[in-house]
Amino acid sequence: MTRHLEELVAPIALIVAAALLGTLATLSTQTYFVDTLVKVSIVVALYVFIGNSGVLSFGHISFVALGAWTAGVLSVPAAEKGAIMPNLAHFLVHRHVGNLTSLVLAAAVGGVAAFVVGVPLMRLSGLAAGIATFAVLEITHNLLTYEERVGPGQNAFSSVPETTGLRQAAVAGVVCVVVAFVYARSRFGRLLRATREDAAAARAVGASVYLQRLVAFTVSGALAGLAGGLYVHLLPVQVNSVYLDLTFVTLAMLVVGGSGSLFGAVVGALAVSALDSWLAVAENGTSLFGWHVDLPAGTAEIVVGSLMAVVLILRPNGITGGRELRLRRRPA
């Protein structure tokens, strides 16, 4: 467990560095840094399942959405609930919890949902798994859009206390990284990676592909739920902000960084976020090395989309090659 601790230290150092950089920024640009750190949590959650199992999932943003709904519904001040969520189910109307509790509950709901979904779905692999997880995303989106008993429907979660600041987002990011690291080093993580490399050989030595995938799916669902809780405490989440676009951006981050490693997930999230945020700022006009830059709206998505396609074509394992960062060991 203690060998190659730099594999844990490097991603944490990156997160801390990003947070420290954020403290230097003005208040308006600070939001971009917090948003980046929340995205790091989502991408690490994706890595726990996709990276270790090698199975594609388009469904994880469902768990982010459920986490956001859980934390959001329980955090909107009682006085405002009637305005945003007039049709809320009776038992939810008077429930109210504090910030930390809402995040823990978000993670719990994400984990339970992932477990429930995973029990049937983890039998599938390849394309069938891709389509089935996509179907989960569609179902979640559809239900949350119209089911006004559990949330605001198509309204935004306004007036949720905006408690996700730099510190909280960074701490949560570090928590996600530690969980992902401990999982990957555990017996479960190692068995799952064995099934990724060669399912038949892993079965032959007694690993249950189904069970190992289910464990990873549940853990990553919980992390995704936590990230959703953070997200709703950052900005007024609406049902379309936890749907296709977020799925695309987070998958792009994982793939660009390299889905095979935790380091790749964090590097990808930070790199793509940095580019994305800078372009978003540039769309409103900014200056770079003395040049005035004013890009048309929508440039950010186009650049990120092209970047993802180019990286996939030239380096299908991502910019880190899917490897952890390792310091060279000195010859004895």
Binding site: L56, L127, G130, V136, F248, L251, G298, P316
Partner: protein
Amino acid sequence: MTIAFLNLDLQTIADGIALGAIYALMAVGIGLVFGVLRLVNFAYGQLVMAGAFALALASQWGWPLWGGILFCFAVVIALSIAMEHLVFRPLRGHSPAVMLVATFAVAFLLQNIALLWFGSLGKIATSLAFLNRVWTIFGADVHKIAVVAVVVAAVCLGLVQFLLQRTEIGLHMRAASMDFATSRMLGVRANRVVSFAVLVSGVLAAVVAVMLTVQTPLVTPDFALRDTIVVLAGVVVGGLNRPIPATLGGFLIGFTTGLLGGVLPTNQSQYLPTFVFAAVILVLLVRPRGLFDLSKTVERV
């Protein structure tokens, strides 16, 4: 003439069949490329979207109908050839998951280019609006487009089937979709087969674009996005590896959504995606290789 069951009338059934026919064409377009490349083209809907914008622009410029349709075909075919050269070709041989994510990226890219170019409000294609009128057949009102869609789809499917079964290039395509490596050894030219499959699938996308713009004249950057997701699910449910099951899957899911969308009251039909995708998951669990795959081959070590 109302059948006394679930207020199901002939018009609803005809619209359901028409949607099924259009989805079947999309399924064939996706299935042909999958057959030779083992690549699920998530960006197929954006080809349709591009064609729809071409039609909308043509009607805005006051072009005659045939000019607009020609323009639509030209745009879609050019775009699909470009896609093949710039994305599919360099990706050849990568794992299916990587290719799926890559086409996902292309879809997102094209959609945002359209957003930048035309704005989120979209444009209206009016030149084919006359097909939305109704014909009275045996006392029942049927949208003209429903009849046209079914006829056009039947002709297209017949042509594709003829192409696959009766021509040399079709033989090569079938061979390539069974075993790409072996067919290459036996003299099938890979690039030619792939280019041809992409071309045919592009033509089908253009046909779909023409027919979808009749039903939905407002063309926005996310035009055909939802349809593609539903068709992809239908194709996987039908069984991706062979054209006829894939077509059936596409038809089935289109017919079901069209019919239920017409029959159910709004407070139930808003949950239609939930039912459809739950059914998709169920089918995948029971028959992961597809609903219509009757073979019992198991992957061996």
